[in-house]
Amino acid sequence: METEATVVGTAVPRLGLAQKVRGEARYTADLKRPGMLYGRVLRSPHAHARIVHIDAAEAVRLAGVHAVLTHWDVPQVRIDPDMLPLDPVVRFVGDEVAVVAAESEALAEDALRLIQVQYDVLPAVFEVEEALQPGAPTVHPQGNLVDGERLLVARGDVEQGFAEATHIFAGTFRTQFHAPVGMETRAALAEWQGETLTVWKTSRSVHANDRQTLARVLDLPLEQIRVVCPNMGGGFGNKDEGRLAVLVALLARQAGRPVRIEYSRAEEFVAGRNRQAAVHHLRIGVRQDGTPTAISMQSTMNAGAYVATGVRVTRRIGQGALYLYTCPHARFEGTTVYTHRPAGGSFRGLGAPLGHFALEVLTDQIAAALHIDPLDYRLRFHVTRVGQPGQRTTPPDALLPDEPVEGGVSFSSNGLRECLLAGAEQIDWRQRRQPHGSATGPLRRGLGLAMGIYKGGVGREAEAEVRLTPAGRVQVHIGNVDVGQGSTTILAQIAAEALSMPIDRVDMVMADTANTPPAHITAGSSTTITSGAAVKLAAEDARRHLLERAAVVMQVPSVCLQAGYCSSDATPQRLDVASVLAGMPADIVGTAQITSGSRDYLINAFAAHFAEVEVDMRSGRIRLLRYVAAHDSGRIIHPRLAENQVSGGVLQFLGIALREELYVDAPSGVTLNPSFLEHKSTSIVDFPPIDVLFPAGPDPLGPHGAKALGEPPVVPVLAAVANAVANATGVWLDEAPFTPKRVLQAIHEQGKRSV
């Protein structure tokens, strides 16, 4: 039955692209309902305070104001373990205090200024070290250490490994607090019809997050809640705050009219979920020839006032240290700490780019100290398909995790070597890389590289329904959100392929709880591999039903399907699919329900990135000249979208490598630069040409051979840039972003001069 893929692997036109280009695509903030009001949020000016009294009488009296809610007016049911819909205690500057719904946004803002809040200001804590001291101000009653303990994951015995080492290298690395900066700010619109609620919202999970939260906090049955996510202008993992949907729903109920809240850009920076600052201590023991004997990393993350994703962000910091290099002994200790900074959350790659920064820069320092070319060092010691030494600890019948620790398990595929070789060839590493720090003069050029290992996007449950209609259309129903990465097109391709149908016959229904089966969160680079697998199975199920039907129509024992036609050895007659479907009384329905993953193999994605930079030794400015990103994400379903995914991720993290940071003033807790201008979000003129390569072949397990690609492109970027700067200047950078100030300081401290 398997035929040559015709839709998968080709750059079909992206679904919905024309509407986006023409400005016709509707985003949440474009939506209007009859009688709709505009909501605004009153935010705390204090980093830590107890609300003693709120007088909203004057705001309520303002003509055109239809609802004002404070913590007294909302259910005191937890959205997350650390979060209430509105709380009598505020925990960062920008924390929600009250919400207002009025006839216009301006009126709603006027109303906010009329609300009198009396605060009892409490001591605040902004740094991890202070927050962990006994007697420090507590952010939440359960203590400042998130989950009450440090996270510890290990393979082998690092102490034994360090004892076997001839050299031990160590470094401390710091990564900054910054914002993901999606182009679309978050927004939500709620409308009640009797006791039935509809919420349109920027979301990464209408099923698993928003609808569940709304049901729990509003005490409504799930059936009475519909959540829809229209087009998304950037996901990046951080649109998973809990309060927005709840507050907009409560406002709409109170006002008796639909209400929409749209965040301003400043609110998005301050009260969106941001990447938290972290410190990483890394030690690597190696033998004389460079063979790693022990890798040990301790990271501490300043999580801010709320942590929706808990320690998962921190856990991902350790993945490179635990698994990127073949090493019997590895250990990661992660500490996640509450402070009175703006709330943390998920952001593309979670902790992985941070941990890889430390790991891959220290690896270059090892290679330099041992006089080994960093490319050769990696070719020699990167983890291979056979995985890590050691004993499998996952029970034989259980699915293997895709954030592995244990040894004794092989990868389904591992293209690190192909990525290293292809990338090196593309940038001409062997010819063009100068010895470390050998450049002279005021402008110095250098090449750097870094590898990355990332989750495979498995381990989640997915459901899909594929319907073939009498009108000859294929309808794919899947609950995931296309956060802008193009999963609508990818999933349509997978369905079209399975049904041997052209892609323009496929209609996608996504991200609407009323019309799609339950779905996992759009996270962890899982849509293609997990949801794609469900779509493929559901389409194959539909195909079976279709062929049974065609056999009846054609009066033959069995039928095969090719290029939109049903045919049989028993007859020369061919019948197109549309004709088979046209005679049906109802849709043909194919369904699938899966848990993705493998009991036998680890599934991971890999990458090797190469950067070329020019550093002005006098002004400290780093200019990116060229970038090459080679990825193993298995079979590429849509080459164009995949390239965009990679170059977009690289661009995003080049900005984070070079300049983007949010400044939080202590002791006020005020975020000082909540704007595109001052956060230094990068504009297009600062980006280098980026070559994207996919040198590895299909994975034996993924749907059509695919593996994860959403987040892997961001993983090696910080390290590739830092290593290129080190190659050019001889100066090592250990703190991101690499601003002119830090570069000049590093040049000064490490005793390098401009000539």
Partner: protein, 331 residues
């Protein structure tokens, strides 16, 4: 944003009268690219905005005898492209091109650029105290975020003047004209700007009832050329960390009429007559450029977290001094 009244007078006299009426807090608005962000961020609370948009006379660029008069409403885009800004005046077009982004250059005006308020993050946040906003504290001094603060002292307020046009205009020897209830006054642009030692609240001598109407460029020797360099974190859409305008004429290889003005380093555009004296009458060489650079920065007294700007300024000044010669000989 708080509500405000928007008034659109048609004559300059009306504008001055409105400013002088002593009613509720009033502010002039031209392109608005600075003022609107301050209003939106709730940093200033002007209740009445008097628009200059109706005063067409302020849009002219006019040759007046030996001088070139630039109206206050001339946009940055026009400065970028006007063909009269060549030869000695080329430096102004170059500096205009480095401002912000094309969208803002279409909107932003010459007068607005010179009257722009400081970029200090603490001034720009409604939630932090600031001497300029009438507070008694300056949290910027204790903050690690000092990249956009002064390296030439304050006193008390260490915000810098971030205009990209002021350094080249001062290098060109431009005058500025103000019109108020008692008539018109003209002064060298250099004297227009004042530091916190004279006025902690405002960065120039324009009185609340005055309008900046024009900037006038004097005639310069045909051979005079200038260069404007700007160190910034992004290639587009950024204010200077440090900027430098250097100009001179090269006559038989000897520097004449040198001007050297730094931006982004002090509460006012920072002219260095001492460095100009080093350059004047000397043949250009790397050693001379290095010496003038040292002299230009002898007054530097960086804060705890911005010493890197002194290095950056040194690199930029030396490069600009040399670069002028390239422009001077190639045209």
């Amino acid at each position: 944003m708080r509500p405000f009244a928007f008034i659109e007078p048609m004559t300059l006299a009306e504008v001055v009268q409105l400013l002088d009426s002593g009613q509720a807090p009033v502010q002039l608005i031209a392109g608005g690219s600075d003022l609107l962000t301050l209003l939106k961020d709730d940093v200033v609370h002007d209740e009445r905005l008097v628009s200059l948009a109706g005063i067409d006379a302020l849009r002219h660029i006019r040759q007046e005898g030996d001088t070139l008069r630039l109206g206050a409403l001339v946009t940055l885009t026009r400065l970028e492209y006007d063909e009269r800004l060549r030869g000695p005046y080329r430096i102004l077009a170059e500096a205009a091109r480095g401002v912000a982004t094309p969208e803002i250059r279409h909107q932003g005006t010459l007068g607005g650029n010179l009257c722009q308020r400081p970029r200090c993050l603490f001034y720009r946040s409604a939630l932090t105290p600031c001497l300029k906003k009438g507070g008694v504290d300056c949290p910027a001094l204790e903050s690690p975020y000092q990249a956009y603060l002064s390296i030439m002292g304050g006193p008390r307020c260490f915000s810098v003047h971030a205009s990209d046009l002021a350094p080249p205009l001062i290098a060109l020897g431009a005058d500025v004209t103000l019109v108020g209830p008692t008539g018109e006054r003209t002064m060298p642009l250099e004297q227009f700007f004042v530091g916190p030692e004279r006025d902690i609240g405002y960065e120039n001598v324009r009185a609340a009832n005055e309008v900046l109407t024009a900037v006038t460029l004097p005639r310069l020797p045909d051979m005079w050329r200038g260069t404007y360099l700007k160190a910034r974190e992004r290639t587009a859409g950024d204010f200077p960390l440090v900027s430098i305008a250097v100009g001179y004429a090269l006559s038989a290889g000897v520097i004449q009429q040198p001007r050297l003005v730094l931006g982004g380093v002090a509460p006012t555009p920072w002219r260095s007559p001492e460095a100009e004296a080093v350059l004047a009458g000397q043949p250009l060489s790397d050693e001379l450029a290095a010496h003038a650079t040292e002299v230009a920065l002898t007054a530097a007294q960086p804060l705890r977290h911005n010493a890197f700007k002194v290095d950056m300024a040194r690199a930029l000044v030396a490069r600009a001094i040399t670069a002028v010669a390239t422009v001077a000989t190639s045209t």
